[in-house]
Symmetry: C2
Subunit: 364 residues, 2 copies
């Protein structure tokens, strides 16, 4: 990203855009022609999916099992759509049967939107089944995999997903600011068949396409964040060099080791093994301990940031990320040591060393 | 921008956001509390102004004297507003009298939108008069100064402007991807008085405010592009170290020197001296010369990118930017030498050396 900025229509830059599209197709496991990076954070990628696929009056099923599902509902409503909410408890995956029932009850559903890897709860949902279910009912699927991409299997073509967005700052280890997206031919057809203009000019796919796709000549839409895209290219190259399967295995190993350490420390995991994300572990903080003070301590004394919990879990849990370049044994062990020492300093019961030993055993 | 990424809610980062707000207030010459950088390019900054200030059914006067005025009209219409267009010829500034007439004819006008420094034509319009005129009629003003900020006087408080957006990649010499914006108290009051939700969740000012402003606790809205903001801070620090007045004088001198050289070369300037932007000079390309081939030649042989013209001027003119760190004598002389040699190689009439001599004289 510290390379000199070149023009956003420079032939060298256009070649770099093509390379990024190919690398993203690999990361998303798709052959979708329309695969690129939105010039804004994940929230912009989310909004690009909804404003292009929905028109006023459309019905959308929105699955909510955490913060980011709630945002999808906001998006649907701000597009003039009607959100049919399928609610699941925080910490639980999306209940496929209830989505099926909602689809039966609302046969005009235009799309089904859900979060593959909920960043607020650390839960993975069954993207394959949900996408296939939507497709069987003639609905499109919109998938949030901001935290999933590069950390756990994302297989856009196998899923049959129609619009998928992600972020750069999670398992790709690229600075924040861009949102990788991919759209199936069905999604593109739905955009082409719109009766109304997309409400956002900045996120209008038909205009953005002319810049990112287009044979030969690219027409100017907005000025792309050139240096940020250098960073994305590098992160994607690193992912391809490691190989997707290796990256998934690495995240899985580190997540297991962290969980073993946390359990050995006597702390509880908020999410069941069966659907816990390896790259994001939600840990119950001990009763009587100021969890925010522990986070400040870790940041100050270990230069280590762990996340606070959101929503109903705020003040009661931590969210520990092991994503991309931070999913390494060193990070796991440092985090466990730091957390243990912070808890002991704060007067909590914690047997020094037990966590790290358990994690080491899991990594061996 | 190559510094390590830190958390977007890290106390160190929150302090950096405060510093950026102060530096932007200096650049914009405003004391507006709501002054920050949108996490997207100038097009996102433009859209943030319109989606927050307009509601369906509102009337907006849009001044169009180039490409970017046309985009404002698109924005108004996509917000469900009615655009009352005041059209001026390409290469001319906005006709203040016609805007006054439109305001009289449309007393319910919610806002007047115009481009201060048109990037497509190189023309400066009279922002002070236009903002005062809007205010006198009880309308808000929305000002595009993407190309203006840091290059020519921008005085938001003196103008009485209500919503102003810019970009980082023009006279601030910061990589593209962010859009500095500032909103007056009147604009904030208009947002607070809305009857409907803002159609964009990503650009909803009331939500973004809670992250960028907020006393003490900042609430998470989206993940800010941390490294891009490091870059903006550095560019703004450089501007403050030089001083706004010095930066304006430097741009004015370089623009004059380039114009002198272009004239000495026998080429025509597309815009009258009285309102030509010093940082963006539109030059008529000689008849019978393939202007795109000249641009390719300059890029290949001099690593120098000059812009093609847009709209009605496409294929007939060049747009030469001398912005921020590229507004120096070296850039002026290199550009003139390169253009002269490219034209001679292409068989155009051009007296070798005349342009550079004239520019040197202007710079002396």
């Amino acid at each position: 990203m510290a390379q000199p900025t070149i023009g956003h229509l420079d032939p060298v830059f256009v070649a770099l855009m093509d390379e990024i599209k190919d690398l993203l197709r690999y990361a998303f496991q798709t052959s979708n022609a329309l695969t690129f990076a939105v010039s804004g954070p994940g929230s912009a990628g989310m909004e690009m999916c909804f404003v292009n696929l929905l028109e006023p009056g459309d019905e959308a099923i929105v699955c909510i099992n955490g913060v980011f599902g709630t945002r999808m509902k906001e998006n649907v409503e701000r597009c003039g759509g009607t959100a049919i909410v399928v609610d699941d408890a925080w910490g639980e995956p999306i209940d496929v049967d209830r989505v099926a029932a909602a689809l039966k009850q609302h046969p005009k559903t235009k799309l089904v939107a859900f979060v593959h890897a909920e960043t607020s709860t650390g839960v993975q949902s069954d993207a394959l089944t949900l996408c296939k279910l939507a497709q069987a009912h003639g609905a499109l699927s919109v998938v949030d995999t901001v935290t999933g991409l590069g950390g756990i299997p994302v297989a856009v073509d196998q899923w049959g997903a129609d619009a998928v967005y992600s972020g750069t700052q999670k398992c790709l280890s690229v600075p924040p600011g861009l949102s990788p997206v991919t759209f199936s031919d069905r999604a593109v057809a739905a955009v082409r068949a719109r009766r109304t203009k997309v409400q956002s000019w900045f996120l209008d796919l038909s205009l953005v396409m002319a810049y990112w796709v287009g044979d030969g000549a690219r027409s100017y839409h907005h000025t792309a964040p050139v240096n940020a895209l250098y960073g994305l290219r590098e992160g994607l190259l690193m992912l391809r060099e490691e190989g997707l399967e290796s990256a998934w295995t690495r995240h899985a190993r580190m997540g297991s080791a962290l969980a073993a350490g946390i359990t050995a420390m006597g702390l509880g995991l908020q999410v069941d093994d069966a659907y816990r994300l390896p790259q994001l572990t939600v840990v119950r903080s001990p009763e009587g301990i100021d969890e925010a003070a522990i986070r400040r301590d870790l940041l100050k004394n270990y230069d280590l940031e762990i996340g606070g919990a959101l929503g109903a879990w705020a003040g009661k849990a931590w969210r520990i990320g092991l994503m991309g370049q931070s999913a390494t044994p060193r990070h796991v062990l440092t985090c466990l040591s730091a957390l243990e020492s912070g808890l002991i300093a704060a007067g909590a019961k914690a047997s020094a060393g037990a966590a790290v030993s358990a994690a080491r055993a899991a990594l061996a």
